[in-house]
Amino acid sequence: MAEAITKPALERHGLDEEQLRWMLRNMLLQRTLDNRGFQLNRQGKIPFATGSEGHEGIHAGSALAFARGRDVLVPYYRDIGLCIGIGMEPLQVLLAMFARAADISGGRQFPNHFTGRAIGLMSISSIIAAHLPHAVGAAYAMKLRGESGRAVLASFGDGATSEGEWHESMNFAAVHALPIVFLCENNEWAISTPRDRQMKVRDVVEKADGYGMRGEIVDGSDPIAVYGVMNGALERARSGGGPTLVEAKCYRFLSHTTDDDDRTYRTREEIERHRHLDPVPRFERVLVEAGVITSDDVSAMKREILAHVNDVTDRAEALPYPLASDLYTNVYEGTHEPWL
């Protein structure tokens, strides 16, 4: 970041100013939603929250590369910004936190386990890596039907790469040259387990070769770089060029969730050492310095976002829980008695 920041540098991947501001807004919105979750939890209003703090650049850049109405996203539970970025309403984030009936899962899922068939957002469980074969299957369907111009974006953490199902998914996608991008958000930690207890290699991307898959690594705190890599990978997938494993480096600044206390396993100093990677202030500064946005406009944007988040918080909170009888629906199509 020593060199002077110029608009042409920012626009190197064909991004225009509006798109750059869109990414900033997405990132600020994530940060605000994160804060809201932890705040509501402290207030005792919701039992649980988790946040994307540190991952915002990955989400903004990837979401922008996602082709709405065509691509399919199979997200990770940390991907608030990515889900919003492809078109999910922020209200959904709050509805999930409050477990309201109007939540798309009807108050069934943990927060951050979004779904939205209408926007190409595939439902996931909490079981790490179990969603990846589904992403591969969706990509297979696209290829089988000859739907070029479509691709699947599947995301996961560094921790997920240890699971057998991650391996099987990578391998299947490579063998069949499927239209899919595997996005690893490597934040150095799986709860309390540091990278070097998870894997012997330094970079997750080193695993791509063993599958005969293309691999790319990108600085996840730079949404423009992320966009560039993700857009390239998705375009390649959409046009028959096969899968890519993208590793986006980042750092998890918060505890794993509100149930976790990261003081038990990492020092405050370590966190501070990584603070310069925080993508939100960094990207804000970059855009301001390059003249893409003024400080005043950033402030206005933040006010607008906060107002919006306040509004959806109030609206979500005011809505009702599901009914007890809702427990029994959607087990199967129609009735669900095991004894007929």
């Binding site: 399919v72 199979v74 798309i104 899962s105 009807g106 069934r108 899922q109 386990h113 779904t115 939205g116 068939r117 595939m122 439902s123 469980s125 079981i127 179990a130 990846l132 074969p133 589904h134 992403a135 591969v136 299957g137 969706a138 990509a139 297979y140 369907a141 696209m142 290829k143 089988l144 057998g164 199902e165 099987e168 998914s169 391998n171 299947f172 063998v175 629906t329 959607n330 087990v331 199967y332 199509e333 669900h336 008695e337 095991p338 004894w339 007929l340």
Partner: protein
């Protein structure tokens, strides 16, 4: 090929093959995937010739990895296809347990209906074929407790066709169990036109009024044989073929028990915690005062599996003689 002009009499392999063939021919959303289903045409030759006719993209020789066979099929189903996944032997379904129980069974529920998972998982199970420890287990009791799944285990050719068609049409995941010893042993008439048999209905395969016998799979055939023998002795036994394991047909079982007042459950799978446990518990709850004798279960012994050596396999399996003895004893109780 043979399936193009289906004969009326088929064995169980042919019934599966014929039904799969029709599905692939009539609905381009369908496909089969599994180990060695392509060039090899499946280890029992069920899909022989399919790859030539439907292509390698719809008859997929997968890598040797069961979690992804099921998991990829789930993704296909969520994205609008109608995958029919195969696990080469039921003994190798364990690595796919997470995808079946944690994922397929919960897709509709967790998304509150936003996504569905119309998926069929076919697999040959069961013993009596010198399959030793790892090519002869029964697996139904490991799955029948799971809400969100359906499980069928037909063992007559006509039932196989009707239930496999129903499974393929079903908007929810269905585990389709084929007893491998019946594959070539059992033959029967199969109607040529397309039809389905609703999942969840049992079938009285041998009527009688002095004892109800509930079974499924290979043992239904032995139970019918035993019932026929007893008929010759003047003892009237009703044999119910469950066909579906989840959902299960309470109505047919209870109607029979209310008539015969005695119940014998026969299955190959281990007794403790097997399918028979739920049937016995249900009847003890719903028709307790109808019963004139304790509910008896004649099942596989509670050991991990039958061994390779013939005496170990024979000891594990329940013979037709043993079934007939148990029937006699209960009728005369």
């Amino acid at each position: 090929m043979a399936v193009a002009s289906p004969s009326t009499v088929m064995n169980n392999v042919e019934a599966v093959r014929h039904t799969l063939y029709e599905a692939l021919k009539n609905d381009e959303r369908t496909l089969v995937l599994g180990e060695d289903v392509g060039a090899r045409g499946n280890v029992f030759l069920i899909t022989k010739g399919f790859i030539e006719e439907f292509g390698a993209e719809r008859v997929i020789d997968t890598p040797l990895a069961e979690a992804s066979i099921v998991g990829v099929a789930i993704g296909m189903a969520m994205e609008g296809l109608r995958p029919i996944a195969e696990i080469q032997f039921a003994d190798f379904i364990y690595p796919a347990f997470n995808q079946i129980v944690g994922e397929a069974a919960k897709t509709r529920y967790r998304s509150n209906g936003d996504y569905t998972c119309p998926l069929v998982i076919r697999t040959p199970y069961g013993g009596g074929v010198r399959g030793a420890l790892s090519h002869s287990v029964s697996i139904e009791a490991l799955f029948y407790h799971v809400p969100g799944l359906k499980i069928v285990a037909p063992s007559f050719p006509a039932d196989i066709k009707g239930l496999l068609n129903a499974a393929i049409d079903d908007p929810d995941p269905v585990l389709f169990l084929e007893h491998k010893k019946t594959y070539r042993l059992v033959k029967g008439e199969v109607p040529s036109e397309h039809y389905t048999i609703p999942i969840g209905l049992a079938d009285v395969k041998h009527p009688g009024d002095a004892l109800t016998v509930v079974s499924y799979g290979l043992y239904v055939h032995q139970a019918i044989e035993a019932a026929q023998r007893l008929a010759g002795e003047g003892l009237s036994v009703e044999v119910i073929d469950l066909r579906s394991i989840r959902p299960m047909d309470r109505t047919t079982i209870l109607a029979s028990v209310r008539k015969t007042h005695k119940l014998l459950i026969v299955h190959e799978d281990n007794k403790f915690g097997g399918i028979g446990a739920e049937i016995a518990a249900m009847v003890a709850e719903e028709a307790f005062f109808e019963l004139d004798a304790p509910i008896r279960r004649l099942c596989g012994p509670d050991v991990p599996a039958m061994g390779y050596a013939l005496p170990l396999e024979e000891e594990f399996m329940v013979s037709t003689d043993e079934m007939a003895d148990a029937m006699r004893e209960l009728v005369r109780y």
